[in-house]
Structures are given as C-alpha cells and as structure tokens.
C-alpha cells in the first residue's frame, strides 16, 4: 500500500494509469493475494485508486499526486524539531523511536474504536 502511495506521490504512477492485477502483483512481491486485494480495497477507500469491474485498478484522476510530497516535506521539519527537543532532554534515538511507535499504536487503537 505504502509503495503504491509513494509511487503516486513521486509521480512514478500518474492519474489514470493502470496498476498491476492483484494476482500478478502478489506473485511479483511473493505475498498473499488476499493481502494485495485488501490493500487495493483500502487504497480505493482512501480515494487513491479506482477499481473498475473486470478491467482492473487505476490511479484516481483526483489522486493528490505530488501534493503530498510538499506536505511531507513540511512535516519532516516538524518531526526534526520534535526529535531535536527530545534529544536535548537526553533521550537516545532508540527511546525516541519507541515513543513514536507506542504513540502511533495508541492512536491506531483509539482510531479503530471510533471507526
């Protein structure tokens, strides 16, 4: 999923272009076909791709190609500032990583309960 998003954001995949079929992609990546199908459904739910019956998956015309790259650049400086402050308090890289992971895990749990 992240790979497809990344490809769209960097412009490697453009709106209207066709994505590989579920089965060929599963074979290429050597991962479960149901995992690929699920990722495609989630991408469709997020409006990034369109699944057209019988003809496959396509990048949405209104997928925010490229736009996210700017957002990410902005976010990166925010993350950098946060990390800098944590380091100033004497936390190690590992400790910071664990804090981020724990916080993300907590958010995804509470997000699920809401949804």
């Amino acid at each position: 999923m992240e790979q497809v998003k990344h490809a769209i954001e960097t412009g490697a995949l453009r709106p209207g272009e066709q994505l590989p079929g579920i089965r060929p992609l599963a074979e290429e990546l050597v991962i479960n076909v149901n995992t690929v199908a699920k990722a495609y459904r989630e991408l469709e739910h997020e409006g990034i791709i369109e699944l057209r019956h019988g003809s496959g998956a396509f990048v949405s015309e209104n997928a925010r190609a490229g736009k996210l790259a700017d957002t990410l650049r902005g976010a990166q400086s925010m993350v950098a500032a946060a990390i800098e402050r944590l380091r100033a308090r004497g936390l190690t890289a590992d400790e910071i990583r664990r804090l981020f992971e724990a916080e993300l895990a907590r958010l995804s749990r509470t997000g699920r309960r809401r949804g």
Partner: protein, 299 residues
Amino acid sequence: MAERLIIETIDLWKTYDGVEALRGLNLHVPAGSICGFLGRNGAGKTTTMKILLGMARPTSGQARVFGLAADSPQASLEIRRRSAFVSEEKELYSYMTVDEIIRFTAALFPRWRDDLQERYLRKFELPLTRTIKTLSRGTRTKLALLLALCRGAELLILDEPTSGLDPAMAEEVLQALVRHGGGEELTVFFSSHQIAEVDQIADHVVIIDRGRAVISGALDDLRESFRRIQFVFDGDAPQTTFRAPGVERVVRKGRVLTVLSSAGADAIVEEARALQPRSVDVVPVTLREIFLESVSAED
C-alpha cells in the same frame, strides 16, 4: 462470521504407543486461505496432516476436509482426489525419471493442467531424463509441487515445503504458492519452521503446541490484537492477577512487569493504573514473538 471451512477438526486426539501426539486439536482452515501451520518439532503437525489425508486414524475426535469425515475410507478417497499432498519425505517412485512420473501422474487425473506442466517444467528447470533418486532435495520438492499443482486440486497440503532448500529455491516455491493459492480455486495449508515465510505468504495461521492449537486466526487480526505492555515501577513490580480478558502471560522481573495481551491492551493498562506504575509502554508484537511466547507458555 460464516466462513466456509475447508479443514475442520474437533477435539482431535491421537495416541501412538502411549505417546499423545494430538491432545484435543481444534483446527479451522477457511476456504480460499493460505494457512501457515507452525509448531515445534514433535508438536503434532505431520500427524495432523496424515489424519486429514486418511493416512492415520485419530484415536478420538473428528477431522473433516471439504466437510467429509477423514476417518471414513470412502470419504477419504474423495478427499484425496480433491487434494494434493507434498510431504516432507517426498516418497516419490525413485526409480522413475522426471518425465515418467509426470506422464504417470497425469494419466490418473482427468483435470490435469498441461499449461501448468509446461510452465513449471521451464520455471523449475526440471531435468526430464534424470531419475528421481538422483535429484537434489530442492529439485525433488519442486517436482512434487509441479505434480500437486497440475492435478487441479482444491486443497494443497504441504509438510515443510521449504525445509532444506536454498533461499532462491524456497522463493520459487513460495512464489508458486501465492500465484495459485488463496482465493476461490485453491486453499493452501502448509507447515513450516520459517516464521518469516509464514508472515510473508499466509493470511491465516495456526500455532500448535503439544498436540493443541494455541493460536489460530487471521494473521491481520493477530497483528492487531497482540500487544506487549511493559510497566515500570519505582520499587519491585507488584504481584498481581489481572481480571481483564486477553492476558496471555505476565512476567515480573525486578521493577518491570511485562504483560503479553491477545486483546484489549487498553483495559489492561487501565486496570494496572491502580498499581501506580512509573511508566507504561505498549508495543506491537511480531508473529515470531507470538510464536515463541505461545509455545513456551506451558509449564
């Protein structure tokens, strides 16, 4: 959730010479899944597969494949007609050549897939004129897999298909499994010691320990529900029993109390709040950790 089950066992027991190989195994493999079967040596994986295929009889309990009773000789014929087995031993007719065994097997199965035969002869680079006994273990596995795939079976059961294979050969085998398995046409049930490969290609997993299924379910659900929660206290961690459901294991060590939860980490954290921990960490758990925790949990 009304999933159609391809394999189902209910309270399955098997005793050989006084040894309890299976001790009340409950197994559920949904149709269209690729299900990884993990367990330590001697946990009962091969015994389970043999019972499913009518090669061994259960001492008690039920085993059904396609809804058919595996211990009925007649139903078992039907089960074996619709499924294919790649065993760890690969006891093929060792005096035959590759070409001979393919023609021999093809003649037995009316749904034989010539297209797949061509594809995998090429892809697996199988030497047609060599006798089976001269083949390497990896090549023999690939031959057994070709025979299994070409039969047009609905269920493929494999006992450690990648054991003894180099990483490139193992990848070819896994690739063939994800190409054909999962989805409506072919359900795959395979045992393995390679947790990483189960993580990679399976969507369901069963962990068996001492003849019992200790973990069973969709891999995504397991990843979502298992958490390791670590509480650190100012003094020694308190002796405590959690009332919240989903507590799989509690380990006290010095100031640290670690809880492995299979559901509801939030409720556990909430309950522990009364103990006034100094810090709380909740982290996801890998399949490898789930495996190691669940097979060493007893005794």
